[in-house]
């Protein structure tokens, strides 16, 4: 362990935070021949991609809960399957309505068409057009994920080259689809869905992914892009890209950690970084909470930009304008999470007994209006009275998550504010929030409450405190136009390099953003390696 100051113990790169992006970056750097140290505040690695055992014999993916976006290139290059990562697809999904009806999504195209037909025959056929258009956009965006965004104000050859690359790809879509793309990136999910569907429940079902993790409602412009952001994992011929990580989301982090260590990297957990050390306008290392100083030629922060620059760095070391911009960066807590141990599989009155859709993502809503009203609650500083939930019962598919016959349920809740209008979060309010969610589920599932063995309730405030994500925002920053591509996280600093020499960013605050994708980590490592002339 490198605890002694001195040249021999100096690392080539110190990564602050062992979230999945920090680990991805660490892996790439270590494999490129650098001597890399990863420091983690908690006594476990993974950040928000963790498997926790908070109730005997149960495993919770207590933050992120599905593996949909992790780039297949990264899994392959870092040999994650060899280090234990196995991703299992889940089946279908369902939105339950208050009147007892439901809309199920089935993998089988004919079953899906007939299911949507129950609500609208037209929508059943419009679905193909919808899927086609989403796919067209995904195909355009996918190659941009693992590239550094160009700075449009720059005249550097590399920026111009990258701008031209994007321009060329955009141009390659043909005039009509270029307009579609512009509209797609800027519209609201509600308006986007209105162009395809007539049935409220069909629109509501597909709008779900447009609001998850986002402090916007389905009627806010820009949410069509968020919808797409969630689809991007599901696009290529790499079957099994979307699913559960066997053993919970911690399997992602653990396989990354194992891959990193196997290539010679060092991880220190329970080692909270207090400050990034800057000497002569250069990042030279970090100081831990206990005062220990560790030196490295470069420092890379996996923390979100607010924590990185406002908490672990000193304003005097940074340009004042940069600090102002960091302060303006929007990171909003809008989501809560319940992790529930169940004594058996709950029954949902809306879902036919033998329908496989229960093995997918389950939602409760009737309409876009209902989801929009849930957002209105958030704006007013209270959790949604009729929340939008994204529920999964991974233990139906992954036998490692719960004892036989018992089930683990992950409930993602939109919306839940970080700051309540009526004052700070208290244990009583947290419980009331949990009860709101549990009651909403119980209205669809009469036996649900009686099956609950244990429930972990996490508000954005809890997520910030435990995971370190500012305001508990799962994307480390809103995915709005002002914070995407060359604007993410800060205009002029979208290329993973901080304004201090030797300091880098690799969290989801950077392009292309959140979700367990690994792309920011990959891109940040490449930026650093390029600066060290280790890669072209």
């Amino acid at each position: 362990m490198a605890t002694v100051n001195g040249k021999s113990d100096k690392y080539d790169a110190i990564v602050v935070g062992a979230g999945h992006n920090g680990l991805v970056a660490a892996c790439y750097m270590q494999r490129a021949g650098l001597n890399v140290l990863v420091l983690e505040r908690n006594d476990y690695i993974g950040g928000a991609a963790v498997s926790r055992s908070l109730y005997p014999e149960f495993t919770y993916s207590n933050c992120s809960y599905v593996c949909s976006l992790l780039r297949p290139e990264i899994m392959r290059e870092l040999e994650l399957p060899k280090f234990g990562l196995q991703i299992i697809p889940y089946e279908g999904g369902c939105t339950m309505m208050q009147d007892g009806n439901h809309l199920a999504l089935y993998d089988n195209h004919d079953a899906l068409r007939r299911e949507i037909s129950r609500h609208s025959k037209r929508d059943a056929e419009a679905y193909d057009r919808y899927a086609r258009d989403v796919m067209r956009q995904c195909k355009f965006i996918k190659p941009l994920l693992l590239r550094e965004p160009p700075d449009p104000t720059s005249f550097k050859p590399r920026d111009i080259q990258e701008l031209l690359y994007i321009g060329k790809r955009f141009h390659g879509m043909g005039e009509a689809r270029m307009y579609d793309t512009i509209r797609f990136w800027t519209m609201s999910a509600a308006d986007f869905l209105d162009e395809y569907f007539e049935s409220e429940i069909v629109k509501a079902h597909f709008a779900g992914s447009s609001i998850i993790g986002t402090a916007l409602g389905p009627r806010s412009p820009g949410t069509a892009y968020v919808l797409l952001h969630h689809y991007m994992g599901d696009i290529d011929d790499t079957v099994g890209a979307w699913g559960f990580a066997r053993g919970g989301m911690g399997a992602v982090s653990n396989s990354l950690g194992a891959s990193f260590q196997a290539s010679g990297g060092t991880i220190r957990s329970a080692a909270p970084v207090k400050q990034v050390l800057v000497r002569n306008e250069r990042a030279v290392g970090v100081m831990l909470d206990n005062g220990e100083e560790i030196y490295g030629s470069t420092v890379m922060s996996n923390l979100d930009v607010k924590r990185t620059f406002l908490e672990t760095m000193q304003a005097k070391d940074l340009p004042a304008e940069f600090v102002t911009q960091v302060q303006k960066f929007k990171i909003r807590g809008s989501s809560g999470k319940l992790n529930i141990a169940l004594d058996g599989l709950p029954t949902f009155t809306a879902i036919p007994k033998d329908s496989p859709c229960i093995r997918g993502d389950l939602h409760i809503t009737d309409s876009l209006d209902m989801m929009e009203r849930a957002y209105d609650d958030w704006k007013a500083g209270r959790w949604s009275q009729a929340p939008y939930v994204d529920m999964l019962l991974p233990s139906q598919i992954d036998p490692t998550m719960a004892p036989n016959g018992k089930h683990y349920m992950s409930v993602f809740v939109q919306y839940c504010p970080y700051k309540l209008a009526d004052g700070p979060w208290t244990p009583e309010k947290r419980k009331a929030f949990g009860d709101t969610v549990i009651d909403a589920i119980a209205r669809q599932s009469p036996d649900f409450k009686s099956l609950i063995l244990h429930a972990e309730i996490r508000t954005p405030w809890d997520i910030e405190r435990e995971v370190g994500l500012s305001e508990g925002n799962i994307f480390q920053g809103e995915l709005t136009m002002d914070q995407l591509l060359f604007n993410r996280p800060i205009p002029g600093y979208a290329q993973y390099r901080a304004p201090v020499k030797g300091m880098y960013m690799c969290g989801s605050s950077t392009h292309p953003g959140g979700g367990v994708m690994g792309a920011p980590g990959h891109n940040a490592a490449r930026a650093l390696l390029r600066d060290l002339k280790k890669v072209a």
């Binding site: 299911e115 609208s120 043909g174 859709c357």
Partner: protein, 408 residues
Amino acid sequence: MNSNPTSMASSAMPNHYRQPLLQTPFHNRARALSQHDSFVAWAGYTTVDVFTTPEQEYFSVRNATGVFDLTPMVKYRVVGAGAAAYLNHLVTRDVSKLKLHRVMYVVWCNDDGHIIDDGTIFRLGEDEYWLCTAERQIDWLLDAAIGYDVEIAEVTAEVAALAVQGPTSCWVLKQFGLVGVELLKPFELGYFNANGIEIMASRTGFTGDLGYEIWMAPEDAETVWDRLMEVGRTRGIRAIGSQALNALRIEAGFLMPHYDFISSESTIRLGRDRSPLELGFDWLIDFKKGHFNGRRALMAEQASGVKRRLVGLDIAGNKAAHSALLYSDKAGQNEVGNVTSAMWSPTCKRNIALAIVNAPHFAMGATVWAEIYLNRELVWERRMVQAKVVEKPFFAPERRRVTPPADR
């Protein structure tokens, strides 16, 4: 236009996740005759791929009578004072020329002049039509109806249909009880009462041979099937599956969506859809009839000349050139297209194919080279084989047009 939600709400608990594919009204009969239990999905239904052998089924149509369950073909009923104007705006041909009780083969395009689908229009009444299509597309059809006084509804499940095709098909249908069916001219339809069963018959088909398609209420389906098989037994009647039909249609030069073209409404990549000019459907486009979907784009394409064309190929040897890439040179340096459908034609004794070929190599009589891979007991061999651009259809017997047809 009907703007109400088009839901077909069913009060019963859905079960389609257990059985995603529907069964046609002929399903029990077809299953009984199917020796291989070889079923395929077609437009949401399960239908027979092979009953006995594709060869036996194929020859039944070229020599006697083959019966093919046509029920899954998607059918839309188009009705209203604006129906003719609507259809005329939808498709590239002049529908105003379609007389009562006639049928027209048509294609229709998106704004770019690229084919969405091909199909047939049946004129059943003054303001009542059927549009038969390969794909479901109510979404497009309803948007195309904005501003027209027309109602459009899918009626696929309300009608059972059989194709009765082959040299003895007219005789079989006469025996079955369709009095006067022999008077139907190609693309004509008529209404019959066959011993108490109401039947509409049209002289249409997908085999390029003499043949009819008969349309009935689903509840009459099994009776019709049984009686047809009974009266046709002495004339070699057989149920045929989709594999045999595919061979028949290639000989006839008919195109199959997903093989010879992809609907412009479903392509993901740019430039993968095809215009009717590229597919050789120039004769289906009536530029003089007024505006129709895609007209401006097609005018422009016609003015600049097509970049590629779907043509018939006569290929040396007897190995079917499935999916073969085509080159202008034997060395395989200059790729100029690919085969979309291919077969050894048992009737013509030619190795035939439909292929998309780039300009100028699609000219009639031009020579290209097909790269064919042969599996010889798990050892793959590559052959460069000469192929010639030839006229379609490959098989077009006179009997398909003669009215009244011969009995055999």
